[in-house]
Symmetry: C2
Subunit: 146 residues, 2 copies
């Protein structure tokens, strides 16, 4: 259930390389396709979808459903283990996705598990709100408006 199994092709090599080189980020299918199109030889979108599905199945890559309407995001699993341990903050204002590694927040999951009998899935959970910049912007606006 874990080994690659399939053929090794130029396309797959380049898709996987892009994922590993951006292990810290969440990538959309379009980002992958666009990156590869920027190179000498583009890769078909269906190929990207199919290979990503496969990688997810194998556990090498994790799929996230973060965006509101948008599509899925993918992240190389090498760093996903780390992502399992921390929270994701998504700014409603600018859309930025922040990975927060913080021992205090780690305790939160423990607390919820122990006191509320609930096991948080960090790969599915995103805290929505406003980043510093956008919060300041809104504050300013509301002062002007009110």
């Amino acid at each position: 259930m874990s080994e690659i199994g399939g053929y090794k092709t130029r396309q797959r090599e380049r898709i996987l390389r892009f994922l590993t080189e951006n292990a810290g980020r969440h990538l959309s299918v379009d980002e992958v396709v666009d990156h590869l199109r920027g190179q000498a030889e583009p890769v078909g979108k269906s190929t990207v979808y199919r290979y990503l599905d496969r990688l997810v199945e194998q556990g090498l890559v994790r799929r996230y459903f973060l965006g509101e309407g948008g599509g899925a995001c993918y992240q190389y699993a090498g760093d996903v283990e780390r992502c399992r341990e921390h929270f994701h903050l998504k700014c409603i204002g600018c859309g930025a996705l922040l990975h927060v590694e913080c021992s205090y927040l780690d305790e939160v999951a423990q607390h919820v598990a122990n006191h509320h009998q609930f096991t948080i899935d960090h790969t599915k959970t995103v805290l929505y709100g406003l980043c510093e910049t956008c919060a300041a912007k809104r504050k300013e606006e509301s002062v002007c408006a009110g």
Copy 2:
């Protein structure tokens, strides 16, 4: 920013009534449309989409992206003002929505604000995971499988 604001129409009334009558469940757009079609007067799907968007914006209804490929689900949020103050836990297994009032979790929001310069919006944030029952069920299954 919180009041209904728009016109009161037959369609909106019926959409909202269906949501409140099923406050314990999460409903897909098609479920809403199908239910209303079953009545004397159907309601257009775009009307449902537009009004649900509006209700979500106002915080009266929550939108969830649970299914893998599927569409969004909606659930009546009840008293929004109260919900602004606490966290929500959504079980991936059974869909239950738990409102958690807890002073410890209140501190979390404070911590994120103070240490990570991020203002959490409780009306938009949901912690996904497994409730006690579903966690036990999964554990059982994995024992059987492996």
